[in-house]
């Protein structure tokens, strides 16, 4: 089992979220973690998809670690 907190990209048990129009990483973090400031966790888990935490697009499927 991995010791770090970053789930592998191919982990089928990592929850996913389909980005809706108007959403931000902070809003998504609040939904899943109850704390908007934890958006960086989602950003770090999706560095292969995201280059800027402020730029997410509807339809993107984000991993929620």
């Amino acid at each position: 089992m991995a010791d770090d907190n970053k789930p592998a990209a191919d982990n089928p048990y990592t929850q996913t979220h389909l980005v809706q129009s108007g959403e931000t990483l902070s809003k998504i973090a609040e939904k899943y973690y109850g704390d908007a400031s934890l958006y960086t966790k989602i950003f770090q888990a999706n560095r292969d998809l995201l280059t800027d935490p402020n730029k997410i697009r509807p339809g993107q499927k984000l991993r929620i670690p």
């Binding site: 089992m1 789930p7 982990n11 048990y13 990592t14 929850q15 389909l18 973690y33 109850g34 670690p65």
Partner: protein
Amino acid sequence: MKKPALLVLATLAAVLVAGCQNQRAPAEQAVAAAESSLTNIRDAASHYAPDQLQQVDAQLNSAKDSLAKGDYKGVLASMPALNTAIANLRDTATAKQQEADAANAKAKDAWGPMSTDVPKMVDAISSRVDILSKSHHLPHGVTKDSLASAKSAVDSMKSAWSDASNAASSGDYATAVSKGQGVRDQASQVMQSLGMTSS
């Protein structure tokens, strides 16, 4: 008693003693052979048919007692039943061992995907628990208690998974799969309690 009568009695006694002595070697050999047969299957029998082994041991010990008391005729008379009991024990142990081997082979097949699948479940939970532990407010549906339970569950799942892996390493796939399934079930419950089951 007259001398002829004494002579007859002495002769009869001598014949009887000689007869008994004639049966001593066959009786000793029969007991030794039975003991050897039982030794050959003792390990398997003690594992797969311990109760039946106990009964056969009792029969063998009875034969050895008779041998020690010089009851060679009794020993030889008990041998067919003892040998049959040993043969039955061998059949039972062999059949049960074959069943266990087949079950273990089936479990080995199940262990393959399980060994990669379950750790991913636990990793996903562990990651979520670590993040939620840093959260100032828990998300809807997750309570402090459920988070505390999840934290505790991660430790117990890792421990149980270690046991399962060790069992697999030693070739005991039936135990490995049984323990692994327990971890999988627990992981499913924890994921549900943390709201990780829906996207």
